[in-house]
């Protein structure tokens, strides 16, 4: 079983596997999420970017379907994929939150507690995916909760339940990763060499994600960072460096003071 942090019980880590190859771009996920979580609308603007008028994840968009029209050697294709908070194994937002608003649940998902968040915004710059954001008229940050309330009662997250083609699959992360790997193999065998997983590798820059994806092209094509790293990863090393530098400075100051005492002439 995949656990991170301390072994706190028998609840396996839960997550999303989004198989973009069966996505029909219907955006039921966007609406079901908003209805369940009472997320406000995010502006009604025709972007003329294919059928994507939502553009990106944010405080008021917790599921976002990307549309990419491509002319490839095999012909024309229309890639569609539903993006969501990655619920990273190494979650920078969680690391930097000063109030304990962000926390890791018993399902190993990352959730913002709206009654604690003070709107400092540290997490916003911490997230390597640009997911978490502040609500303008509110100040607090909002993002996907992986339907913490629903899964806590044994129910399915709203987006996964609504998805007409099971592009969004919810379940124990281990099972999902196994299923996804089989699916990639099947696709490659069927002549889709570009099929790959994104976020399923525990050795990637965020330790693997709780919500991972099956893509048919490079992540950048879908608007995803190609090599995301948890932004706090170098923090321990940075602190150590800073600590050493501080010690060094202190040492230098002590030595300098010592010289002064040994050599009173310098104080003439």
């Amino acid at each position: 079983m995949t656990h991170i942090g301390k072994d706190l019980g028998l609840q396996p880590r839960m997550g999303f596997f989004t198989d973009s190859t069966v996505c029909i771009g219907c955006k039921a996920c966007e609406v079901a999420c908003k209805e369940w979580n009472a997320v406000p609308t995010d502006g009604s603007v025709l972007t003329a970017e294919s059928f994507d008028n939502t553009s990106a994840l944010g405080a008021n968009t917790w599921r976002h379907v990307a549309f990419v029209e491509q002319n490839t050697e095999q012909g024309f294709r229309w890639l569609m994929s539903s993006d969501v908070c990655k619920h990273c194994t190494e979650a920078a937002c969680l690391d930097v939150c000063p109030t304990g608003s962000l926390f890791r649940t018993e399902f190993d998902t990352v959730v913002v507690q709206q009654d604690i968040c003070n709107g400092c915004g540290y997490c916003v710059s911490a997230c390597p995916f640009g997911v978490i954001a502040q609500r303008e008229d509110d100040g607090r940050v909002f993002k996907c909760t992986l339907c913490y309330d629903r899964i806590g009662a044994g129910q399915t997250p709203a987006c996964a339940q609504a998805c007409p083609t099971e592009s969004i699959q919810f379940g124990p992360l281990d099972e999902l990763r196994e299923r996804a790997a089989e699916r990639v193999d099947a696709l490659k065998a069927a002549g889709e060499p570009g099929a790959r997983l994104y976020g399923a590798d525990p050795s990637d820059g965020v330790g693997g994600t709780g919500a991972f994806f099956l893509l048919l092209d490079e992540p950048e094509v879908y608007g995803l960072p190609p090599d995301p790293k948890v932004t706090t990863r170098d923090l321990p090393a940075m602190w150590r460096q800073a600590g050493l530098a501080a010690l060094g400075l202190l040492g230098a100051a002590v030595v300098s003071a010592g010289f002064d005492r040994l050599n009173p002439r310098s104080r003439r």
Binding site: I24, K34, W36, S44, L46, N71, D149, A153, T165
Partner: protein, 1078 residues
């Protein structure tokens, strides 16, 4: 929890297992107590999504008498808990702030709405109905008894419950109102006639879950994944099992993205494509011979005087050019005669017969194929030059792959690829399924499109097979129901034709004889009609009163919604009900719709919000241009806010003929009421006023059975009681269980014979909700389907003539010799104990005349019709004609267009000439998954608007470059009738086609927008024309010609001026495009 120090996070961190304080120690009390509202609801009610016709199950959660959540029902065998974006937005639809709450009233000539009390409004409407009816009452037309009023009309019903449609049709018919129509007219009426004449029933032959068993799925004239997303999961299941999915469409849509093969095609040319497939199947002998010989009319020999389009350069024999109709007698089988079309056997077609044919008798084949009487000759070797098989071959001989390339713009390789896939996946072991929607129905040859697919599927032996069949994808929650029940002018419940006016006083017996078939289940027609009359007039319907048959008003021709608009323009129709339909946006030629309404005395609109059809007098396009002036419009308008699907009980019938009952979750608020409430109380008030009447014309109303119990604070009539009336009962009041129990002696009563059985044993079968996880894949115990809960229609054809399945892999039903009955996975669609070896004795009649091998039991000869000798008015075989407006000539024949199509000669309905350089581009219309039909249920919803905020048109990069169009910019589209603006999407999903050596550009746009609501835009239907298929009067909106130029459109009077300029440049006159023959 008290927030004592021991609860402080820092202490919990130090003392508990979460030493880093990132997990449990950081949880606030609120977080600890988090419970989903789906767990704390007071009650959960089973419901069905109100949008499209897939019929996804919904669960409605109620807390403190408010709906707090609506989501998918995982128990549903159709949807398995899933919902598309619209269904997912049901909570916002029903509880969001966009719904009107109070009755609004517009006085004649007023510029404003006023509030009006609900009760007073009802009294006023009742008064207007009675006044207008009295003013326009007609006993006779041209010497024939009609007993009706053409002064009142009604439109709407596909979004309403079956019980609502039933009472609407019942009351209005009793009042003598014949102009009763709904969205089914403009959407899938072609299906009823196309599938009905081919197979005997005019609905999808299979059900969505069956698609998982297809080896190949052809989606054409449909954007399945976009318009029926949750139904599309079954295509994905098939894909998982290795099936191939082919999508043929003018544009690359979200369905194409998931298809294995995408074939771009010119809009309006599918008959060439299908005809070429038929041609090649025949010439390469890829047809399923044993199936074709035994189950179709391939061997039947036609008359000598039949002339095909090959003989007459695009025409069939029998064209009467002056009257714009065919005399179909030469199309008949040798040795038989037509009963359905003429009504009188041995006389030449009279004006009366012509009018009867024009009225669309074709739609009565929704349940019961066209009638043939007489002795038929056959040649089982299929060699006789006049047998259907040979005639079919000859008819399609020039429909070749080369022709497909020239006319449709489809490259040869793609034609070959599709041909190989469908033929490799048909036969004993494998089946191919076809799925289509309005890309096929909405043409002047819409019915023939569907006939072409029917022919192909019969030849391949796919009808009645597991994973085969034809999936007609209907689009509204209960549009199948509003066709079955129906709120349509030409039908009575169960596809019984509305009686036609006769020179002499027609009795019930004569009516029955004229339409009754000699063979098959339609031979019990008399029982169905009598039981209906009994349901409507109860104790007054007796043998002595001829079962009150005389109380039914008569039709004299076509009274379709488009005829009604013309009657409004001509000042003949003065009162109009709009019941959840928005013709100012959703019907062809928006301007004529509104000008018609401007001529009314009164208009009643029932809807959620102030749709365009309710406010055109105040802020419609003609107010902007000055063509109409508010102060000069005398139309009185009533707006009644409607109840949502969660606020009333009743049944929807989905696209697979499945009835699903919805329970009321909460009562409607303020003035909102269901349409059941509205029509019941309107009827109650009207009957109250007529009770003392001595007028003969009022007797049908006074004697109408209208005694429904009411309940709740609003006195809501009991939908269950209405459904029970629809189901029917015997003389003792016991509910009936099957239509075979119906009698023609007045001892049975039944509101709709094809629904008989929905309340079998007194149990609401439509309310059954056994989870699919507890049933087999057919899930018979969820809801109830007509006929008789069969799911795969014509399943007798899944077995060979001896009763053995063609293959184990595709077995559906089979004959059990020992038990002496049919058995299997589905309810047999044939008589349960009739042996395959049964052959009808000489002179057998009715059901006894059906042999043990006939799979199409509603056909008068028990066979699937490759050739339709009766029932359709524009030809027994589908023939390619160009759309009314086309940039290219017909490359197959000298005859350009459907010679008997219905054209409209009106100033605002002018036509572009063929091949006009002024309107050089093909425009087609379609849907988006985020919006729904004319927008009344989506353009007021913020969650849906932000997904697709504005109207747009889609053009190819080449067309954009040629015309200076910019992605994200504006464009103006101009047709021979109107001009609109839309944003532009430049995309490779639109492709120019090479047609007959030249480049033809296609432009596509969604038709959801209008000027009202939170997301507004110009309406597509400002551009379209009223040009109709002659069988069913459906408009051609899938192919017209336009010009496109960058920039926004002119405002005010400059707008009609622009349209006129274009007309002048193109040399358009009142006669342009009106010809019969070319």
């Amino acid at each position: 929890m008290a927030s004592s120090p021991s609860r402080w996070p820092v202490l919990r961190q130090l003392r508990g297992p979460d030493s880093r304080g990132l997990r449990a120690a950081a949880k606030s009390d609120a977080t600890e107590q988090l419970t989903p509202r789906t767990s704390t609801a007071d009650r959960v009610v089973g419901s069905v999504c109100p949008y499209c016709a897939v019929g996804c199950g919904q669960k409605v959660f109620v807390k403190d008498e408010h709906v707090v959540q609506i989501e998918g029902d995982p128990d549903s065998p159709i949807s398995r808990g899933r919902l598309c974006p619209k269904g997912s937005a049901s909570l916002q639809l029903t509880t969001g702030g966009a719904r009107e709450q109070f009755v609004l009233y517009r006085r004649p000539y007023s510029r404003h709405w006023e509030r009006l009390a609900l009760d007073e409004a009802m009294e006023m409407v009742a008064q207007r109905v009675l006044n207008t009816r009295a003013e326009t009452w007609e006993w006779e037309d041209d010497g024939r008894r009609t007993r009706r009023t053409l002064g009142i009309a009604s439109l709407g019903g596909a979004t309403l419950d079956n019980e609502e449609n039933y009472l609407i049709k019942k009351l209005f018919t009793a009042l003598g109102i014949v102009q009763v129509e709904n969205q089914a007219r403009v959407c899938h009426s072609s299906t009823v006639a196309g599938l009905g004449t081919s197979f005997g029933r005019g609905g999808a032959t299979t059900f969505l879950q069956d698609l998982q068993h297809s080896d190949c799925i052809v989606i054409e004239g449909s954007n399945f994944a976009e318009a029926h997303p949750v139904g599309f999961q079954w295509v994905m299941e098939a894909k998982k099992r290795g099936a191939k999915v082919i999508h043929i469409d003018p544009r690359f849509s979200r369905t194409s993205a998931l298809a294995d093969v995408f074939v771009p095609i010119r809009a309006g040319t599918d008959i060439v494509w299908l005809g070429a497939l038929i041609n090649r199947v025949l010439s390469e002998e890829k047809y399923f011979r044993e199936y074709v010989v035994n189950y179709t009319n391939a061997p039947v020999i036609l008359r000598e005087d039949f002339k095909d389009t090959e003989d007459l350069d695009g025409l069939f024999s029998g064209l009467d050019e002056q009257h714009r109709r065919y005399d179909p007698s030469s199309w008949m089988y040798q040795g038989t005669e037509v009963a359905a079309a003429s009504g009188e056997r041995d006389r030449p077609p009279t004006e009366h017969a012509r009018a009867k044919a024009r009225s669309g008798h074709s739609e009565s084949h929704g349940s019961g194929g066209a009638n043939v009487h007489g002795d038929v000759s056959t040649d089982e070797s299929l060699q006789h030059p006049r047998c259907v098989f040979q005639v079919l071959k000859r008819h399609y001989a020039r429909y070749t792959a080369e022709m497909v390339e020239q006319v449709c713009g489809v490259p040869r390789e793609q034609f070959d690829e599709v041909f190989d896939l469908i033929t490799a996946n048909s036969g004993r072991e494998r089946t191919t399924s076809f799925a289509y929607a309005v890309g096929w129905t909405q043409h002047t040859v819409g019915v023939q499109y569907i006939r072409a697919a029917s022919i192909l599927q019969l030849l391949l032996g796919n009808i009645g097979r597991k994973g085969g069949g034809i999936q007609a994808l209907r689009g509204h929650a209960s549009i199948q129901g509003s066709s079955d029940i129906p709120t349509l002018f030409d039908l009575l419940p169960g596809y019984i034709p509305m009686p036609h006016a006769h020179d002499e006083h027609e009795t019930l017996a004569e009516f029955i004889e004229a339409d009754e078939a000699q063979v098959g289940f339609w031979s019990n027609f008399g029982a169905y009609v009598t039981s209906l009359l009994k349901a409507w007039w109860g104790p007054n319907a007796t043998l002595e009163s001829d079962y009150c048959f005389d109380y039914l008003p008569r039709i004299t021709g076509t009274h379709s919604t488009y005829e009604t608009v013309q009657a409004q323009l001509d000042g003949l129709c003065k009162g109009y009900f709009l019941l959840g339909e928005n013709p100012a946006v959703g019907s062809a030629n928006g301007k004529l719709q509104r000008l018609g309404m401007a001529n009314l005395d009164w208009l009643v609109v029932r809807d959620f919000s102030l749709i365009e059809s309710a406010t055109w007098w105040q802020d419609g396009p003609e107010i902007e241009t000055g063509e109409l002036v508010t102060d000069a419009i005398k139309t009185e308008v009533f707006f009644f806010p409607a109840a949502a699907h969660t606020e009333k009980s009743g049944t929807f019938t989905n696209t697979n003929r499945l009835l699903q009952w919805r329970e009321t979750a909460v009562e409607p608020a303020n003035d909102c009421r269901s349409d059941l409430w509205f029509i019941y109380h309107l009827g109650r008030i009207i009957r109250g006023r007529l009770l003392a009447s001595t007028q003969e014309r009022d007797r049908p109303v006074v004697e109408l059975t209208w005694d429904y119990p009411t309940e709740g604070t609003h006195a809501e009539p009991s939908a269950a009681h209405v459904l029970q009336e629809i189901n029917g009962h015997d003389a003792a009041g016991k509910p009936l269980s099957a239509y075979t129990e119906l009698k023609d002696d007045g001892s049975t009563s039944c509101g709709c014979w094809i629904y008989c059985g929905v309340y079998a044993d007194g149990v609401n079968q439509a309310a059954r909700r056994k989870p699919h996880t507890e049933q087999d894949w057919m899930s018979h115990e969820w809801g109830w389907a007509w006929p008789a809960n069969r799911r795969t229609l014509y399943n007798r054809a899944s077995a060979d003539p001896s009763g053995r399945p063609w293959s184990e892999r595709k077995a559906v039903i089979w004959w059990d010799e020992r038990a002496g009955k049919w058995t299997g996975h589905d309810i047999p669609d044939c008589e349960p104990t009739k042996a395959p070896s049964y052959r009808p004795p000489e002179g057998a009649h009715g059901v006894d005349a059906l042999s043990g091998t006939h799979p199409f039991i509603m056909q008068s000869d028990g066979l699937g019709w490759l050739f339709a000798p009766a029932g359709l008015v524009d030809g027994p075989l589908p023939t390619h004609y160009e759309p009314q407006e086309s940039p290219v000539p017909n490359l197959l024949y000298g005859q350009e267009r459907n010679p008997v199509r219905e054209v409209t000669r009106r100033k605002h309905n002018r036509y572009a000439p063929s091949g006009s350089g002024v309107y050089p581009y093909v425009l087609t219309s379609y849907r988006l998954t985020e919006h729904f039909t004319a927008g009344g249920m989506t353009r007021w919803q913020p969650y849906l608007n932000e997904l697709q905020p504005e109207s747009f048109c889609e053009v190819s990069p080449l067309l954009a470059a040629e015309n200076g169009l910019v992605n994200g910019g504006w464009a103006t589209l101009i047709s021979a009738r109107g001009a609109i603006e839309a944003r532009v999407l430049v995309t490779d999903r639109m492709r120019p086609l090479s047609i007959g050596g030249r480049v033809v550009h296609q432009i596509g746009m969604p038709y959801h927008w209008g000027p009202n609501g939170r997301s507004t835009g110009d309406s597509f239907n400002e551009l379209s024309s009223m040009t109709l298929d002659p069988n069913v009067h459906i408009q051609e909106v899938k192919a017209l010609t336009v010009d496109i130029r960058p920039g926004r459109r002119p405002r005010g009077a400059d707008l009609p001026a622009l349209v006129e300029q274009y007309q002048q440049r193109a040399g358009i006159t009142a006669d342009t495009g009106m010809e019969v023959t070319t």
